[in-house]
């Protein structure tokens, strides 16, 4: 333990007692946290990264049991402290930024009260405490903080709430700040702002930060040191450049290669790490990653891998040292180590000349904000908000169209309206030329064979008390399964989505996210639809699994000539799978065009902000400073009169505030809604 170490975790081993037996959640975790640096712990779900964070603070679940190890902080072992001593450290010297500011802040107390309560140990007057709170809120970028300090959490927007959460954790001037997925609940444009804010705070207050995240881009952009965890073990540690440019552990390498944001060439087939994390209730000799490793050797599953140091970091792999070392490992970064996919490349099936399968024009969806009586009393003549405003969009047979937007952009509402799950206020939706908008359910039902939907939450969109078998055959039952053997159908569908047949007897809560997503795909495909509306198909999935689902969807598209309308906020993924992209902001489509073109040379400033806003999993490629746009998506209740984006647009001019810009074409298949587009000609500018 050297002088610049603030916190040192050494040999931490921890079990969870469950009725499945003892889950060995953490095994021999060791790494130092260096003073004044930002350390990122990265891993997929089940890696134990959050458990490490909570064991630092002694805030583990009741069934956790520390078996061995120590956590040294300022000369004391945190694991041996009395509850009183630990409480004195919590909040004062070590504090936390939580993932979801909505649930981690007290809804019934204003920030002034919550923040002065945090200072309860200090002998300060109430006035001084309030001043400290105002000052800290100002520091994290909350405007008019001397009046906003009296606001309640629900009066703040999501981004402001997270800023306030950071302000609360910084209020006591802690030496160590722990951040648990601090941007996961936020939109891309907010994420960029938070990264900037936390780096700035580190400079100003010389705070050491430990951030836990599954987001490689966030880790690369924010951190100085990185710890990579897999299934309860540290597989590699090191400085951020070493990890991202010269990863030595096969898992780190594979994880980086799977991140769609890192894959430069556009490819419908994404790399994946096959398999699942091992069962942690069993004894685990050898290397923890052996079951999924591309370079696995027979000895890997029995012999514990050596710990190989490099610089300030270590890696745990047989390939690096000892009798099994391979001097050719690791290969140069250009050489892929993860198999792309054994399947043959997908032949393009798109028939551009075909009539659109789905044709949406001038669709409007409005939500009531108050009852008619209250509106009359308050004198509100128009008690509605426009969730979807004059949207026109088409999907051709065999085509993949992506609808991209931040939360509140109306993209999910649009998808549900197309499928007649939500009432529209006006417009036309045609499916195969037939007007289907507002059709009665009894007449719409036959159409549901042709149009299916995949929902956001892979597990939550499955009826919890039904078996997988019942779930995937249900569409057949609903639409009449005369003469079909449901058992064979269930097996056929399971095979189609590559779900092992043994899973048919399981229930949704017994499935992992990726397995549940496969069930969702099977349900959507059961009736051989022509169009699938997929709402965030990769939400809640790990990087290594999302590739499997997207590859599956691409294969099924090639096989069955499906059309996809993919609703998502995840731009890096969309770049690989979409033919066309439509960008939505506040319910309106601001730009639409061929995917490659929209990415390479966006016309609308918002599109550019989204494209540039994606955190790059490359520590050297800092985003252009102009990319981070100010503010956040305004509430639909306060829609600007002019261009919807005017309040955040760096290029806004006076004309932009006057009227909504109409859609204009810069190419036959590329249109936008901006008065002063970033480009006017259809030529692709290679420099962009």
């Amino acid at each position: 333990m050297t002088d610049d170490t603030l916190l040192n975790i050494d040999g931490l081993t921890l079990d969870f007692r469950t009725n499945r037996g003892r889950v060995k959640a953490l095994r021999d975790i060791s790494f130092p946290v260096r003073k004044g640096r930002i350390l990122g712990i990265v891993g997929e779900s089940g890696s134990g990264k959050s458990t490490v964070l909570w064991s630092i603070l002694g805030l583990l679940a009741g069934n956790a049991e520390v078996m061995a190890g120590r956590i040294d902080f300022e000369g004391r072992d945190l694991l041996k402290l009395t509850p009183e001593a630990l409480r004195a450290i919590r909040g004062e010297q070590i504090s936390v930024v939580f993932q979801d500011p909505m649930t981690s802040q007290i809804p019934v107390l204003p920030y002034a009260r919550q923040m002065s309560d945090i200072l309860y140990r200090r002998t300060m007057s109430d006035n001084e405490k309030r001043k400290a709170a105002v000052e800290m809120l100002r520091r994290v970028g909350i405007p008019d903080s001397d009046s906003r300090v009296d606001a309640y959490p629900h009066e703040f927007s999501g981004g402001m709430r997270q800023r306030a959460g950071i302000a609360m954790s910084m209020l006591t001037g802690p030496n160590l700040l722990l951040a648990d997925e601090p941007t996961t609940a936020l939109d891309v444009t907010m994420e960029a702002q938070m990264i900037g804010l936390m780096r700035g705070l580190r400079e100003d207050f010389e705070t050491t930060i430990v951030v836990v995240s599954h987001n490689l881009g966030l880790i690369a952009e924010m951190c100085d040191d990185v710890v990579v965890m897999y299934a309860g073990e540290v597989v590699e540690t090191g400085e951020v450049h070493d990890i991202f440019h010269n990863a030595r552990h096969p898992y780190t390498r594979a994880l980086l290669e799977c991140d769609p944001a890192r894959i430069a060439d556009v490819s419908r087939k994404l790399p994946v790490i096959p398999g699942d994390i091992p069962d942690l209730t069993r004894p685990l000799p050898g290397c923890i990653f052996a079951t999924r490793c591309q370079r696995v050797m027979p000895e890997c599953s029995s012999l514990a891998p050596p710990l190989v140091p490099r610089g300030t970091g270590v890696a745990r792999c047989h390939l690096l040292d000892g009798p099994l070392a391979d001097p050719a490992w690791p290969p140069p970064p250009e050489v892929p180590t993860v198999a792309r996919d054994a399947g043959e490349p997908v032949p393009p099936q798109v028939r551009r000349t075909a009539e659109p399968l789905l044709d949406v024009s001038d669709l409007n969806v409005r939500f009531r904000t108050m009852g008619p009586v209250r509106a009359r009393i308050r004198g509100v003549s128009d008690p509605f908000v426009d969730a979807v405003l004059d949207v026109s969009l088409d999907v051709k047979p065999g085509e993949t169209v992506a609808l991209v937007g931040e939360s509140g952009s109306g993209k999910t509402t649009l998808g549900r309206t197309i499928l007649n799950l939500q009432q529209a206020a006006g417009g036309v939706v045609r499916f195969e030329g037939k007007d289907i908008l507002g059709m009665k359910e009894s007449r719409f039902k036959p159409l549901r064979r042709d149009m299916a939907m995949m929902f956001q939450d892979p597990v939550g969109s499955l009826s919890p008390r039904k078996s997988v078998r019942a779930l995937i055959t249900e569409p057949l039952v609903i639409h009449g399964a005369e003469g079909r053997n449901l058992d064979t159908e269930a097996e056929r569908l399971a095979d189609m989505v590559r779900l092992p047949r043994g899973f048919l007897a399981r229930y949704p809560h017994e499935l992992s996210g990726g397995q549940a997503r496969r069930v969702g795909v099977a349900r959507a495909l059961a009736l051989n639809p022509r169009l699938i509306v997929a709402d965030e198909p990769t939400a809640g999935l790990d990087v290594s699994v999302q590739g499997e689902i997207l590859n599956l969807m691409a294969d099924l598209q090639a096989e069955h000539g499906l059309s996809y309308l993919i609703i998502t906020h995840n731009l890096p993924v969309v770049r690989h799978i979409a033919d066309r992209i439509a960008i939505m902001y506040l319910g309106r489509i601001v730009e639409e065009g061929p995917a490659a073109e929209v990415f390479a040379a966006p016309a609308h400033p918002y599109t550019r902000a989204l494209v540039d806003g994606v955190p790059q999993p490359d520590p050297d490629r800092r985003r252009p400073p102009a990319a981070a746009i100010e503010g956040e998506v305004p509430s639909l209740l306060r829609r600007p009169t002019g261009c919807d984006f005017v309040s955040r647009c760096p290029l806004a001019r006076e004309e932009c505030r006057m009227a909504k810009p109409a859609h204009r074409n810069i190419a036959p298949d590329h249109r936008h809604a901006c008065l002063f587009p970033l480009r006017k000609t259809p030529e692709l500018t290679e420099t962009a």
Binding site: V272, S461, H479, P500, A505
Partner: protein, 301 residues
């Protein structure tokens, strides 16, 4: 692509099944280590057994009079004594239990079913229907069961059918409210939306997807409602508007005992004990079931 090995039943699936049965075993053992749960179970089983097998267990015909032995206390011949007509009180209690079981079983199950259906309709249907049904539930609940029964009997005359109808009508709202709240919480979940997107009809959504998720709390409520129903029946029979003499019921035994309480206390005691035991039994069992199925609501002691 990662096609996991095509093992017909993967090892982890087997293990999962194994762990599920282990979980069941653990739940059972924690249930059996709770003395209240065991006591509840024993009392409830005793209630069912004594009512069902009453004709074989009863030492005498419940209506056979033995005037010389009237109003005797407990003895080897009559373990719970006799009433003013010399009928064996123990036999009458056993047969009275049949009435209690009849009312409890039919009353509770009928109001459970009706309450469940109405509650799901209120929770899932349009707003106006919800409001209408709520109004109905509140209207019914605003009448005390006994007053409602007295009013009805004034029109129809006393009978067991009237008691049953009153019991069903007055207990429906409690089931319906629980079912309604649970349904409303499910209404906007993604899996219900997913069912709608597949074209599932409303009855299918309600009976296949909503019902399995709301029935648990209702069954626990039903166990807790049994003693309520039994005491309503006893109360109404005590007032003479339920079971008609000479038929035995715990309420009529209490009523007859009450008339002669200055001469002998044994009839009131003998009529009261089964009521108390039944109430305790079902309450203990209901609480134990609640702890079992919803550990979050576990007793915070």
């Amino acid at each position: 692509m990662s096609v996991p090995p095509s093992d017909p039943v993967p090892a982890e699936a087997l293990e999962l099944r194994e762990s599920a049965s282990r979980e069941r075993r653990e739940k059972l053992s924690s249930f059996l280590s709770d003395w209240q749960a065991v006591a509840g179970l024993v009392l409830v089983v005793a209630f069912f057994a004594s009512a069902i097998f009453a004709p074989w267990l009863a030492p005498y015909d419940p209506n056979a009079m033995d005037i010389p032995a009237r109003m005797s206390g407990p003895s080897w011949d009559h373990i719970a004594g006799t009433d003013q007509l010399g009928r064996d009180t123990f036999s009458r209690i056993l047969h009275g239990g049949r009435v209690a079981l009849y009312i409890a079983a039919i009353g509770v199950s009928a109001s459970l079913v009706v309450g469940l259906v109405l509650g799901m309709i209120a929770g899932y249907g349009p707003r106006w229907l919800d409001n209408l049904l709520l109004l109905l539930f509140d209207a019914v609940r605003s009448f005390p069961a006994v007053i409602l029964a007295l009013a009805t009997v004034a029109l129809t005359g006393p009978s067991l059918t009237v008691v049953l109808a009153i019991v069903i009508i007055t207990t429906i709202p409690s089931y319906a409210r629980v079912a309604r709240t649970a349904t409303m919480a499910l209404r906007h979940t993604e899996f219900i939306l997913a069912e709608r997107s597949l074209g599932a009809s409303t009855p299918r959504i309600l009976f296949h997807h909503v019902m399995p998720n709301v029935i648990g709390p209702l069954l626990i409520l039903a166990a807790m409602e049994v003693p309520v129903v039994v005491s309503i029946e006893a109360g109404l029979s005590f007032l003479g508007i339920g079971v008609l003499p000479p038929q035995a019921s715990w309420g009529t035994i209490l009523n007859e005992g009450y008339l002669v309480i200055r001469d002998t206390p044994w009839m009131v005691i003998a009529g009261g004990i089964p009521l108390i035991l039944t109430t305790l039994g079902f309450t203990f069992l209901g609480e134990a079931l609640r702890d079992l199925f919803d550990p979050r609501m576990g007793r915070g002691r």
